[in-house]
Every structure is written in structure tokens, then in C-alpha cells.
């Protein structure tokens, strides 16, 4: 954890030296603020018909109206709630499950390692979208099931990462010392190994946020995620695809996915520079 504290001391310096980090924080911060406060200042209701249908962007409706006459801008802004909450749940669950599996595999080795890692190999053998689609289709369409499907696809990445990290740390001298001092396995793992193994997971998780937003939106685009009339970005783009000549229906939600993806990427990149200087 000392690395993190060190980084905090250089916080200001890091900010001024890294325009990409500032951009990332601004973008993600903007969307978080929107998600938390939109109810207070929204002009239109995202689910109500507020104008004639399929209107091109205008001063009243910055991103036009959709096939029912709902305001696309309002729906895009509301959509961030789905994207941020689903990606938060997915990333946290995947990190917890994956890290646990990886740590156990790396720490105990032998059979535990073989069995757990073969499970990881098999999951990673599937192209992500296809596995997510198959799981989501099996569970039935819906936002919650889409989240489960993405977790199923995502956890093995962290398992591999954490296993490698634990194997790296476990061979160091202080672990040997703690073991000689009579520390239990549990204590060894939680007090001596895991605190030194988190950094790559944190970096990777930050980078992954954008990708998870993308994958979840893909499932909704296919029709397996959020169901109408929910203003979810993937579902809105799917709407746009069926009204091909009204390009503005899809424009906003796609831009939003792109923005969030870039934002998380900028932050993750900067985190890697700060937390793990060896990489560069």
C-alpha cells in the first residue's frame, strides 16, 4: 500500500503533468455527476413522448426525437445510470471472484491450481461476446442477466492476473520469514501476500470499465440486455438501426459509450504510469 500513499503525495504534480489523466477524470466525473443529479435538472422525461416523432436535432431537442417522439438527449443522459451501474457491479464482482480464484490457485498450487486454472482456460477459450450472448440467452433477456453474463466472461482475466502476482510475491523472502514465524495460511495470504498483489488488478480494472460498458451495451444492442422502454445506450442504438435514416437516434448513445471508454482508458493509463513505473 505504500506505493499508493507515495502516489498521493505527488498527486498535484501528477495532475499537472498528465493532461490525459485530467481529461479522463473530467469525462468520468461529468458522467458521474449526470447520473447522480439528472433528476433535478432534466428538461424532459426520458420515457414520455414530448414531441413529434423522428425529428432531426433542433434547439428544443438537441439530439432530435426518436421513433416514439421521446427526447434523445434526455434519454442519452439518463442512459449513463445503466452503464455506470452495470459496469460497476460487473467489475467489482469479477475482481472479487477472479482475484479469489487466482489467489487460491497461486497460493495453494498443486491440484487446486490445476483445477481452477483449467476452468479459467476453458472460459477464456470462448470469444467474449459469443459466450456472453449464450449465457444471456440461456438466462433469458434482461439487464440483471446481462450483468451475470458479462461477469461470467470477465472474471478469468483477473484470476490469471492475480495468480501470476501471488506467485511472484510468494517467492520473496519476507513470506518465508512470516511462514517461519508461524503465520497461518490465511494470515499469510491476507496480510502478507494480497496487499502486495493488488496493483495490476486495480490498473486493469480501471481500464476494463470502458470495455465492460461496451460489452453490456452490445448485449442490449442485440436485445438481450435492458428491455424497452429503458433508455439504455445499446438498446437506443438498436432503435437507431431500425430507423436507419434518422441517424441522430443512435448518435448520442454511441458518443456516450465512446466518451466513457476513452475516459476510463485515460485514467487507467495514467494509473499504470503512477502505480507501476516498471512497465515503462
Amino acid at each position: 500500500m505504500s506505493i499508493v500513499v507515495g502516489a498521493r503525495a505527488h498527486w498535484m504534480k501528477n495532475l499537472t503533468l498528465r493532461p490525459a489523466l485530467v481529461a479522463g477524470l473530467l469525462i468520468v466525473g461529468f458522467w458521474i455527476v449526470v447520473a447522480l443529479t439528472i433528476d433535478v435538472w432534466t428538461v424532459y422525461d426520458p420515457l414520455k413522448i414530448v414531441a413529434r416523432k423522428l425529428q432531426a436535432p433542433s434547439l428544443q431537442h438537441w439530439l432530435g426525437t426518436d421513433a416514439l417522439g421521446r427526447d434523445v438527449m434526455t434519454r442519452t443522459l439518463y442512459g449513463v445510470r445503466y452503464s455506470l451501474s452495470i459496469s460497476f457491479v460487473v467489475v467489482v464482482c469479477s475482481v472479487v471472484i477472479g482475484s479469489l480464484v487466482g489467489a487460491l490457485a497461486g497460493f495453494f498450487g498443486g491440484w487446486t491450481d490445476s483445477v481452477l486454472m483449467r476452468l479459467v482456460d476453458v472460459t477464456l477459450a470462448f470469444p467474449p461476446v459469443l459466450l456472453a450472448m449464450a449465457v444471456a440467452a440461456s438466462l433469458g433477456p434482461g439487464l440483471q442477466n446481462a450483468a451475470i453474463a458479462v461477469i461470467v466472461v470477465w472474471w478469468p482475466v483477473y484470476a490469471r492476473l492475480m495468480r501470476g502476482q501471488v506467485l511472484d510475491v510468494i517467492s520473496r523472502d519476507h513470506i518465508e520469514a512470516a511462514r517461519a514465524g508461524g503465520a497461518s495460511s490465511f494470515r499469510l495470504l491476507t496480510k502478507h501476500i494480497l496487499p502486495l498483489s493488488w496493483t495490476p488488478t486495480i490498473i486493469s480494472a480501471t481500464m476494463d470499465f470502458g470495455q465492460v460498458v461496451l460489452l453490456a451495451a452490445s448485449l442490449s444492442f442485440i436485445g438481450l440486455g435492458a428491455q424497452p422502454p429503458a433508455p439504455e445506450w445499446g438498446a437506443m442504438i438498436s432503435d437507431g438501426a431500425s430507423h436507419f435514416y434518422s441517424w441522430w437516434i443512435a448518435f448520442g448513445p454511441g458518443m456516450a459509450i465512446l466518451m466513457l471508454g476513452l475516459g476510463f482508458n485515460f485514467i487507467g493509463d495514467a494509473l499504470r504510469d503512477i502505480l507501476d513505473p516498471r512497465e515503462h
Partner: protein, 337 residues
Amino acid sequence: MTQYLFRRLISIPLLLLGVATVAFFLSHFTQADPLSALVSERQMNNPEVVAAAKQRWGLDRSLPEQYLIYIQNLVSGDMGVSFRTRRPVLTDIAERLPATLELVIFAMLFGTISGVALGVLASRFQNRLLDYFARLVALFGSTVPVFWSGLLLLYLFTVKFSWIPGPGRLDPRADPPPFMTGLLTIDSLAAGQFDTFLNALHHLVLPSFVLGWSVTGIIARLVRASMLDALGQDYILAARAKGAGEARTLFRHALPNAMIPTLTIIGYSFAYLITGAVLTEAVFGWPGIGSYAVDSARTLDYPAIIGVSLIGASAFLLANLITDIAYAYANPRIRLE
């Protein structure tokens, strides 16, 4: 090398078995009755059909027995019948495979060429404006949703500018070439139908750009890093000292060495391409496996969607195997081990 190859080859059937096991559980834990994944709704009332399906898939037996039967059926190529198309899943997939293959090959070509170009450019102008620009272009590609960029570009280039023909692989009035490989560009050339060839190529431009761009970033990032690595080596200094020009230094001396690690990522980016192809095909009305998967998922056609993920996983494993072998071959340190 032989030992390494042997180990890799042995792992493939085991992984495939694992993949099939996952597929079995998926097909078993569908919300619907597993029977409904085998028999179409209309035939549900036909006791003969239901009994036959039950028997063939062993649904009246215990779970372990069902599992064995499932694996047996898979080995003999039986993935069940799609209840959307009412045809064997494997037949459907085989018919649509060439379209996907053609799209993925062209996308791979575009992604590799643009990725290597951007990576070399970025390394040559490290930490200068051009470097940041190249990295931003690459980053955009891997962040942008293909089902969105595809949609907007299709609108822009077909409706606004009419530069690009609409969706599909060929114009409706074009003359499809006789079937040889199923790849329209190759078949039309072989049959001497030059107009059809151009038309197929024209249809390929936009989807392979959209799909290929998604891997540009992954490739560019690695090319940049390994080019920087190579450019810092002594032999580059030696080449420069001998008076080699900039282009020669970059492309003759540095790039071949930088390409070895890149080879791996090009192979692995295949996974992204399969993934991206699913969504790209859906947007471009491309009659391949991807749009088949999406249509199947939309209609909850379980046998079809599970069949596609099985095939996808196999293709993915195969691609990784080929990549590993190519890498081992290109890198003497592994080859001679």
C-alpha cells in the same frame, strides 16, 4: 520445439471437451425446458417427435448419461436443429462460414497494415505530436462500438455520399460466381467475373474498415513498444553509422525484429475480430455466422447460439495454436529449445 508442440496439441482436445461441457450446462440451464431447444414449438404436441428427440438426446436418462450422449452427438457433428431455420445448426453454420471468413480476413489485413503503420510512425516520432495522434487514432478504434460506427458510416457513405453500396455481400443485380471457396472475391476472380469481383470488394470496404479498426489499436500499441525497443539496440546504431537511410533503418533493420512479438498479438487479435464480427455483421446485414448468432440470440434459438459459441471457441483455440506455432518458429530461442 517438438515437446512444446506436443504439449500444445495435447491441450487442444482437453480444452474442447471443457468448452463442450460449458455448452452442455448452458443448454441445460436455459430457462426453457431443454426439450424446447430441440423440438420446435409446433411439434411439441406431436408425441412421436417429442419421444424421438428425448431418446436421441437422452433426456429421459440421468444427467451424467445425458452429458455423455451430448458429447457423442457433438463428436459426430450433431449440434441439434435450429428452431428458427428448422435446419441442422452445423449446416447453417457451414453455409455462412465463408462470408465471415472473408470479412475477417479483409479486416485482419486492414487492421494489421494500419496498426503496423501507426505503430512505426508513433515510435519514429516518440512523444511528439504525431505519436500522440497515432495513439489516439488507435485508441479510438478499440473504444468505439462497432455497431455504432458501422451504422453511422453506412448512413454517411450510402445515403449522404452514395460512395458505397448498401448492406450485404453483393448488389442484388450482381452475378454471383459459381461456388468454389465461398469467398466471393476469390471465386469471382477464378471464374473471370471481374465486375463481380469489384462489386464484392466494394461491399467489403466499409465493414472490414469498421471491424479492422477495432484491432488497429492493439497492434499499433505493441508495434510501437517493440519498435522503441528495437530502435534502442546497438545494431540500429551500427546500421546508422554505416550510413543506412532512415527508411532502411526503420523497415529493414528495426521492423523485422519488432514484428516477432507483434506476430503473437496479430494472432490473438483474431479473438477481437470474431467478437467484433458478430456485431459488425449485424449492422451490415452480412450473411455470416455473426449475424446468424445475433438473430439466434434475439429469438432465443438456443441450439443455434450454443452451436455458434462452440464453433467460435474452436476457431479461437485453433487461431491461438497457429499463432503459438508461428511464434515459436519465428523466434529461434524457442525453436531451438
